[in-house]
Symmetry: C2
């Protein structure tokens, strides 16, 4: 779980930072169906946060359909059914991505640097077999 980092200077609540980081790993296929995540206590220790914070993140990811939580058995990654996005969802994400790109540009990244970052992510999303990229057997 080396790729989860909590950024204390980020205004995003810590449980949300954990969700965002884990969801990104799940989408990238770093964990696949049947994989066990670290227990709440392990991950909390790793990240130096309260275990309730990790428990809340796991609970919300379970609500999203990513994890099955069982008492004493920790969190297991599910074979998540892919929902169908409505046109509104599609539009809302387009807006949020555009706004975040503008925020990055306003924070001092050049338009070219932001565009490059966007293209890199687009490339990662569509290149090869993202569902297995970085998957631990």
């Amino acid at each position: 779980m080396a790729s989860i980092r909590i950024d204390p200077s980020d205004a995003t609540p810590v449980y949300q930072q954990i969700i965002n980081a884990l969801r990104t790993l799940l989408v990238a296929g770093a964990f696949g169906p049947g994989d066990r995540l670290p227990t709440v206590r392990e991950l909390a220790l790793d990240l130096g946060v309260h275990h309730n914070t990790v428990a809340e993140a796991y609970r919300l990811l379970a609500d999203e359909g990513w994890l099955e939580l069982r008492r004493r058995h920790g969190a297991t990654v599910l074979d998540r059914a892919h929902p169908k996005a409505t046109p509104e969802t599609r539009k809302a994400f387009g807006r949020r991505l555009r706004e975040l790109a503008a925020e990055a540009h306003a924070a001092g990244l050049s338009a070219a640097a932001v565009a490059q970052a966007l293209r890199d992510i687009a490339e990662e999303l569509t290149a090869g077999t993202p569902a297995n990229a970085g998957r631990r057997q």
Copy 2:
């Protein structure tokens, strides 16, 4: 100001939605230095929100260097000095963009659809003269 919409289903606080939308317009050059924004009261009426909410958004955009606020004169767009992003800022935005793309994918947009949205925004950022695009004389 037709392009500002408040989405009540969005978990983002309303003042932050206004900031995000205005910053996106400012970065796109829809308003240039010297332009007057609607008064707090006008915009609040337009959006159907409390005027304190708009005032808070204007105040935070002024803190970011975008606006000059004067009692009775409303908000004037400044010729904002472009800050220099630190490597940490650059990395943080890379992470946030990647996480938002993953969230969109998890919400049901296909990888191809997310990638296309990212490439469209990259295109907008670098094509032509974005600083004048949509600029009202």
